[in-house]
Amino acid sequence: MYETTYHRPASVEEAAALLAANPDAKLLAGGQTLVPTMKQRLAAPSDLVDLRHIAALRGISSEGGRIIIGAATPHAEVAGDATLRAACPGLADLAAHIGDPHVRYMGTLGGSIANNDPAADYPSAMLALGATIHTSKRDIGADDFFTGMFETALDEDEIIIAVSFAPPERAAYAKFPNPASLYAMTGVFVTKGSAGVRVAVTGAGSDGVFRQAEMEAALSADFSPAALDGITVSPEGLLEDLHASAAYRASLIKTMARRAVAAA
């Protein structure tokens, strides 16, 4: 890795000030993507601003009918949190299957969605849950937050504080992992709640996470796996790589969607 300078702020304000003062700085959450990327010399931040020690960024609570998850809450805590498991087991299950146990101790929700890796799991959940992303500057709806592969609506000096969502009636995630990396080769998060049915697909889109409107319509009429039978997913705009063609991913989207609905 290239040379860098490590900082450990105690507050969001201090972190924001460090970001503002160092234009080539990067936020370091769990580091489970950033550190490997730096090791491969594919990222060269001048400064690293560690968010793991800011208490305000950590923890899960329920307020005003919404679940709030601190941005620096590690996956293992999300997976094991009783409040969340009662309100939205589908999200807890998703967190329980991100990466591997070691990654889950370190990796955080905020880090995952800020990076918006096309193969990350959390973005699909945020999108399907219609979550709100609370930052150091504003609140952003998930539909506006994810703007493309590795792209979000975040400003350079903006820090995610938490996400919140109204627990859906039903929600579940089904993923098919890449046989090598075990990242989502296709993952589908489905929800049914006050805002209707939402279906979000990760791992498959060449623009990152996206909603599947046709499935949402079909499931709104009948929230059952069979409701998806007549739908043909187009391979257009889907990722192509060694492990999956666009056509195969299109098929996986449908299969994972059916399985998610069945599990929800």
Partner: protein, 162 residues
């Protein structure tokens, strides 16, 4: 440069290192704790797993500076003298290692798995939980057996391995 204060295997240490130093390299090169191994550069093989504040993490995916203030336990600190940790003993008894390179990370991961599941372990769970540790020698058969045997010993579970 980053100033580190941490407890490694129960001993307080204070060092100044390059900010970019990975915890794995700090342990291996500054602390001469070479039982922690580095087997890949994409954070997947798990040969580098150590416990930071009681949790099994990949020391190749954490800066030493990130671990400042933490309690770090490496394979060298898992047991002392002639005593062995039940997981270490089980790996020996069940031939859960061959070349030994992944073994240290595998044992540190296994200790964490057993602690997390509180005795409630079966073969499928162990296999799923070993997702972050790659072994090229054993085909995992005897590793799984060893973890289940150690779990049975540590939790007095009635069901023996295999």
């Amino acid at each position: 440069m980053a100033k580190l204060e941490m407890t490694v295997n129960g001993r307080k240490v204070s060092r100044v290192v390059d900010d970019r130093t990975l915890l794995a390299h700090f342990l291996r090169e500054d602390m001469q704790l070479t039982g922690t191994h580095v087997g890949c550069d994409t954070s997947q093989c798990g040969a580098c797993v150590v416990h930071v504040d009681g949790k099994a993490v990949k020391s190749c995916t954490m800066l030493a500076a990130q671990a400042s203030g933490a309690q770090v336990t490496t394979i060298e600190g898992l047991s002392s003298g002639a005593d062995l940790h039940p997981v270490q003993r089980a790996f020996n008894e069940h031939h859960g290692l061959q070349c030994g390179f992944c073994t240290t990370g595998m044992i540190m991961a296994s200790v964490d798995i057993i602690a997390r599941h509180g005795g409630d372990l079966d073969e499928a769970t162990v296999r799923a939980e070993l997702e972050g540790n790659i072994c090229r020698c054993t085909g995992y058969h005897n590793i799984v057996k060893a973890v289940l045997a150690a779990n049975a010993e540590m939790h007095g579970a009635s069901q023996a391995a295999e």
